[in-house]
């Protein structure tokens, strides 16, 4: 297993790292880049805690080989806040609604909610529930999570 040089953009910054063919993108993000906001949940693509955006689309970092990141733009939960640390409106909505219990699913939920709002501004409750259905919260705080996505969508629409 020879190491490979892989170049990608991580939260807007160009990166070049050395990875093995069997390195998962999730482990590169957490262990090498020390960005531990992205969570290692089930490891088999069923819980959504490891969701990151690749080229603007949410995918599961636990099922992506790091080599596949070559040339792509990756955004993690740490990359959502704007310059100066201003939170994304969706992060604000999670705080306002108390949409966090244990917090383990929260990064995945926010990355999914953000992707939905980018695709579908002002989604309905049904659209939110459908889009988030691959992201599991075992505290079952879904009501406030769903409400947060709806609220952030409404707030962003009002601001436009």
């Amino acid at each position: 297993m020879n190491d490979r040089r892989v170049r990608f953009t991580l939260n807007g910054e160009p990166r070049e790292v050395s990875v093995k063919p069997n390195d998962l993108l999730l482990n590169v993000i957490r262990d090498d880049e020390k960005l531990t906001g992205t969570k290692y949940g089930c490891g088999i693509g069923e819980c959504g805690a490891c969701t990151v955006h690749i080229d603007g689309r949410p995918v599961l970092a636990c099922l992506e080989l790091a080599v596949a990141a070559e040339g792509r733009e990756i955004v993690t939960i740490e990359g959502l806040a704007g310059n100066g640390g201003a939170l994304d409106p969706l992060q604000e909505a999670f705080l306002d609604n108390g949409a966090v219990q244990c917090g383990f699913c929260t990064p995945g939920m926010i990355m999914m909610g953000r992707a939905l709002l980018d695709e579908t501004p002002e989604p309905s409750e049904a659209e939110v529930r459908d889009y988030l259905r691959g992201t599991l919260c075992r505290c079952t705080g879904y009501a406030s999570i769903v409400q947060s996505v709806i609220d952030a969508g409404a707030k962003e629409a009002a601001a436009d």
Binding site: M1, N2, R4, P21, N22, D23, L24, N27, G43, I44, G45, E46, G48, T51, R57, P58, V59, L60, C62, L63, E64, L65, V67, A68, E70, M112, A115, D130, Y131, R133, G134, T135
Partner: protein
Amino acid sequence: MYAEFDLLTPAAVGGALDELAKVENEEDCMPLGGGTNLVVDLRARAVAPKVLISVGRLSGLRGIELGEGRVSMGGAVTVSEILRHPERSRFGPALIGAAQVFAGQMVRNTATIAGNICCGSPAADLVPPLLALDAVVRLECSAGSRELPLADYFTGYKSSVRKPNELLTRVWWPEPPAGSASLFYKLARRKGDAITVVGVAVSLARENGICTRARIALGAVAPVVERVRPAEAMLEGNALEPDLIEAAARAAAQQSSPIDDVRASGKYRRQQVFVLVRRLLSRAWRSLSEGDHP
């Protein structure tokens, strides 16, 4: 990940086929598409190839083409790309229905149409609608290519006619004509990210009040996803009266050979084959009848 393998990243389909041509043992080398099944299997050591050939982003395997009466998709087209395509209404409603209930959003963004076929799972959700639409698959190797009906592709549980040096590069089917209808239903324990308990796809064509073409395909109730040809034959050439639909649904349930597992008993699955085939045939036929008498 503890599983070790080498990963080849050819720049084009030809390079991937050249690498596959060197394969001697099927277990030693596998093409990697989206990886949503294969990476899980690698981690579980369910498979242990020495070499993976990454093909999921090859431009030669991407793209959806419409024309000459065909819908044609490259093997690496993702489920999301099917759902986002501006001409998706021409693909066949059964396929769109299956894509909509396929896993979750993140898996749909990565999983490919060829990967869903090649993993060989009897619960693969794109396969019943593709069978109902008379899909054809293209297998390519460095020496040439061949095409065969998807209905002839599977030979048994997770086994197929694909040779170790062949790549499934394209899937195409006749564009569903006016006067035809197709539907898919996935029965599962919950809506999100659930493995199918029973999957049913039907496709019907109607002319002058007569069913001219019928397809019924069942998922997760036999070692392979399969068509129910005896039931299809009962329908073709007839007006689909409720008694006939019920008889066809009974024939479908009879042909199914479901197992008991953690998701459902075989008995329940077989009963649901009857219920769902009857329901989907009735709905599809009714939608065509309404089309005849606007």
